[in-house]
């Protein structure tokens, strides 16, 4: 089975103190550390497991710049067979639809049975997976938390729906799935395994290589524009309970019960 996993490099929310920059149009990017988007990590692990069990190849792709290579290298260290960087000066400022068009161009130049994306990115809008499926005219399932191969042409996937219930679907291949965290336990990718793939060439695909009109992506083609970036004003939310332990617990139970959390 040939699987494509679309990934994104994002600021690591557990290792940064995210602050607005002075202009107020972005976060402060200096002194940030990045990692692969958490949902994408689960998608990669799932793809690698499917291939380990059934054979095939995992290709990992990202749209971005030079710096984004690090998540592709990590993907190789994790066990992906191939990774590609979709990058061109003309792609800068793409909106979700632009990114989806670039990925579509890449998919059409290759053959994939299955395309996985994270359900959303930590700094994203959860839109690329669905758009990519629509552009390709592939079936799509979002928020997938388990995948089972039925035969060569079908998958059985489950999705968690509101209230913790599960829904089971059969879906025809090729298809696009957006993957929920918790679908597996991603493996650890240590420094050594990244060093082992340090010399691997990662191809960079621009507009020419993808055979795409540069005007179909990038800032000019974008129809969604970010107009502001701000921290919402802190609302009066938290109430600190003071007093002895027993007293605090009693008061807390009372409050939770009043809000309907306990019956």
């Amino acid at each position: 089975m040939e699987i494509l996993v679309c990934v994104k490099r994002v600021p690591d929310t557990s290792e940064n103190e995210i602050e607005l920059n002075r202009a107020g149009n972005d976060i402060e990017r200096e002194d940030l550390v990045y990692s692969v988007n958490e949902w994408d990590n689960y998608a990669m692990e799932e793809a690698i497991r499917i291939v380990e069990k059934n054979g095939g190849n995992v290709t990992v792709a990202t749209v971005g710049g030079e710096d984004d290579e690090e998540v592709l290298r990590r993907a190789l260290a994790m066990g992906a067979n191939r990774s590609v960087l979709i990058s061109d000066a003309a792609f800068a400022g793409s909106d979700g639809a632009g990114i989806a068009r670039l990925l579509k161009a890449f998919v059409e130049k290759n053959h994939f049975d299955l395309i996985l994306t994270g359900a959303q990115a930590e700094d994203g809008a959860a839109q690329v997976g669905g758009m990519l499926a629509a552009l390709l005219d592939y079936p799509f399932a979002a928020l997938v938390d388990s995948i089972e191969l039925l035969d060569g042409a079908k998958l059985k996937v489950s999705r968690e729906i509101e209230g913790g219930n599960k829904e089971l679907n059969e879906i025809d291949l090729p298809c696009v799935l957006s993957i929920e965290t918790g679908i597996n336990e991603p493996r650890y990718v240590g420094m050594r395994s990244i060093q082992m793939v340090a010399a691997v060439e990662i191809p960079i695909l621009g507009a020419a290589e993808l055979g795409i009109d540069a005007a179909s992506a990038g800032k000019a083609a974008a129809k969604v524009h970010r107009t502001d970036y701000f921290m919402p004003a802190a609302s009066k939310g938290a109430e600190i309970l003071n007093g002895g332990r027993a007293e605090v617990i009693d008061r807390m139970i009372e409050l939770v019960r009043a809000k309907g959390g306990l019956k």
Binding site: D12, S14, E15, D31, S35, P186, R187, G190, R192
Partner: protein, 704 residues
């Protein structure tokens, strides 16, 4: 036996004796051949194991053998069983020398050691057999009637074989009985033949038996003597050839295991001995049995299944799925199964994790070293744990809870993912700043002494107080010191012990460069994990001291004086951190500092010094979510209460986190508190009034 019965005349006796001699030679020859064959087969996996250079420092190794093997140094730690073992061991040694002598003298026709010394020696052997026999009976009674808890085999580790031990005791007892009977009958024969006979040791079992045999007719005596002798030899060789099949193997391997024991405390073995470039290794750590080194395999053979390790293991006590004893026994059984004495060796590429070991079992170890400290046979466990973890890390098999801190260590240099520029925030405390200026060192700003803070002290709110106390004490004695601030990354101590060797190398490389650039001459730290890393894992850095050592020196030199402790009800107890105590043998310095504080009442917990009980583990262990019945820390806090203490003094930031948590979990907030040694010293120190002080000391700030 019909031949023996047929012997009647002295001529026949002579014939029989010469026949007997041949028979003896045949038994010896067959026995030794079989033994050599068995031992050769047992060597097979060792020859396939990884290399392990243990042939250096022969004199030190010899001294280790004399202390731990010949003098049985660790045995008295378990008084009853230890004493029993010492007696049996001593008896064995004496009898082994006699057996060898008999073999040599027997073949050459002499009768024993000559002279007065020889006579004394014979008396000793008469007693040896008697004492060993009595010990066998005591040991059997102990096992059959009293069932010591440490021999029990929990169901999850397989089935126990209590019969094996009894069978072995029986074999040895038989051998001793033969020995006694031979000595007695031999003496009786000599008396009846009117030959010179050396007196048997009065009161010993051979002497008693001799009293009974003296009246037995000579031919019967002669037959008896020969019969006993053959039976003795058969039992002897059966026992010898049976040894390599179980716990009794240690009788043969212990000498070698102790000789080749690890000599460097606090260190971790390299990923692979002799590998100059780690990047060229295809695989890291132990994944299959043959990835162990030959010495690690010898450890497995040597385990006597005595259970002393697990009896002291805090993970086992807390109900984690780890018992060091079964780390050895399961691997030994694997080895016996795949490398049998009879039949073909069946090496298979099977993973140990998921096979004989579970992931949780290997992650459960805090590397506290209690098992190694206790093992009378010097079996090593920590290096194996680290090697198995290296294998798991290499395959990406790491618990989710530990992946984030590992990733943060790689990108930010600390497990919390805090920003580097905030590493020195702990000194940004208004009250602290007024009294104590801490310099941040770099290529331009140097000092005599570096205070290596490490991640937990720099970033954890509660632990920052230990950092400030340390700095104030250094400042008080006029030490010219500074910190590295943002340039200091995690020491990587526990990164290495959790098997992430490559990451450890990166952290160490960074820190060594920063330390050298600072131009300091000494390093102090209040964190035993950092101390052990700097002392034993780093090379080419200035000498390092733990604060307890540094403070003990200052107290002795009169540079630190204490105010009287005004709390009549407080009873202190000192908790030995594993990486200060067991791994680095610093037991007295912290106690000396405590005892220098006037009015401080101190008690010892039953498990103290080299038997200290781990608080729950430091470094990455804080992030691991173990399966356990209760926290180690809770057990430890209860031990402190049992000792009559209400203040636990620690000298390690991780101990502080674990013990303070445990006090809360145990609901003992009202009766127990914890304080770091530096905090206590900082509180009690007599502050000098500096002449250049700009403002008068304010009451309550604790600063000058």
């Amino acid at each position: 036996m019909s031949m023996v019965e047929a012997i009647r005349s002295p001529v026949e006796v002579a014939e029989w004796l010469s026949l007997g001699k041949i028979l003896f030679l045949v038994i010896h020859f067959l026995g030794l051949t079989l033994l050599i064959y068995i031992l050769t087969r047992r060597m097979t996996p060792l020859l396939r194991g990884e290399r392990d250079p243990r042939f250096d420092r022969p004199w030190l190794r010899l001294a280790t053998v004399l202390q731990f093997w010949l003098a049985q140094w660790k045995h008295p730690r378990y008084r009853g069983a230890g004493l029993l073992h010492i007696l049996i061991f001593a008896g064995f040694m004496i009898l082994a020398v006699r057996s060898l002598a008999l073999l040599i003298f027997g073949l050459s026709g002499h009768a024993g050691f000559p002279g007065e010394a020889g006579h004394l020696y014979d008396l000793l052997t008469d007693w040896s057999a008697s004492v060993v026999l009595v010990c066998m009976i005591v040991a059997a009674v102990r096992r059959i009637v009293f069932h010591p808890a440490r021999y029990a085999v929990p169901a999850r580790y397989g089935k126990g074989h209590p019969g094996d031990a009894i069978f072995l005791l029986g074999l040895i007892a038989t051998l001793m009985l033969c020995d006694i009977a031979f000595a007695a009958s031999n003496a009786a024969v000599l008396v009846q033949q009117g030959k010179a006979v050396e007196a048997l040791a009065v009161g010993s079992l051979p002497w008693m038996l001799n009293q009974a045999l003296i009246v037995v007719p000579l031919p019967v005596l002669l037959n008896t003597r020969v019969g006993i002798c053959i039976f003795h030899e058969l039992t002897f060789y059966f026992l010898l050839c049976y040894r390599p099949f179980g716990i009794q193997f240690h009788v043969i391997t212990s000498l070698f295991n102790v000789y080749f024991a690890k000599l460097d405390r606090g260190t971790v073995k390299p990923v692979r001995w002799g590998a100059a470039n780690l990047n060229e290794l295809k695989s890291f750590g132990v994944k299959k049995f043959e990835d162990f080194t030959w010495k690690q395999m010898l450890d497995f053979y040597t385990c006597a299944d005595c259970g002393r390790c697990s009896d002291n293991c805090p993970a086992d006590a807390a109900g984690r799925p780890l018992s060091p004893r079964f780390i050895s026994i399961k691997a030994r059984d694997y080895s016996f199964q795949h490398y049998p004495v009879f039949g073909r060796a069946r090496a298979e590429d099977a993973r140990l994790i998921g096979g004989i070991y579970s992931e949780d079992e290997i992650w459960s170890c805090t590397t506290c070293g209690a098992c190694e400290e206790e093992c009378p046979l010097m079996i090593e466990y920590i290096d194996k744990m680290v090697d198995l973890r290296r294998g798991m890390i290499d395959e990406g098999n790491v618990p989710q809870s530990m992946q984030k801190p590992l990733k943060a260590l790689a990108s930010r240099g600390n497990p919390y993912g805090k920003m580097e520029k905030k590493k020195a925030d702990w000194i940004d405390n208004k009250e602290f700043r007024e009294g104590c200026k801490v310099r941040i060192l770099d290529a331009r700003q140097s000092a005599e002494t570096l205070y290596f803070v490490d991640s937990i002290t720099a970033y954890e709110d509660r632990i920052q107080a230990i950092g400030r106390a340390t700095a104030r004490i250094l400042d008080h004695t006029g030490e010219d010191f500074g910190i590295l601030g943002a340039a200091e990354k995690d020491s990587g101590h526990d990164v290495r012990r959790f098997g992430e060797e490559t990451l450890f190398h990166a952290l160490r490389g960074h820190n060594v460069t920063a330390i050298k650039a600072s131009g300091v001459k000494r390093i102090v730290t209040a964190d035993p994990h950092a101390y052990n890393a700097l002392k034993n894992d780093y090379k080419d850095v200035p000498p390092v001291e733990h604060m307890s050592q540094w403070m003990a020196r200052q107290v002795k030199a009169g540079n630190i004086k204490f105010n009287r402790l005004e709390d009549a009800g407080a009873v202190y107890t000192y908790h030995d951190p594993c990486y200060l105590g067991r791994h680095n043998q610093v037991y007295d310095d912290p106690r000396d500092v405590l005892d220098a504080i006037p009015g401080l009442k101190r008690v010892e917990m039953s498990r103290c010094r080299d038997r200290s009980f781990c608080c729950g583990g430091g470094g990455l262990m804080l992030f691991y979510e173990p399966r356990e019945d209760q926290r180690m820390g809770v057990l430890r806090v209860r031990m402190a209460a049992a000792a009559g203490a209400n203040v636990i003094v620690t000298a390690c930031p991780f101990c502080m986190v674990n013990i303070e948590d445990a006090i809360k979990v145990a609901g003992m907030e009202a009766t127990m508190t914890a304080i770091d040694l530096t905090e206590l010293v900082d509180k009690q120190i007599v502050r000098r009034i500096r002449t250049e002080v700009r403002e008068a000391p304010r009451a309550g700030t604790g600063n000058v």
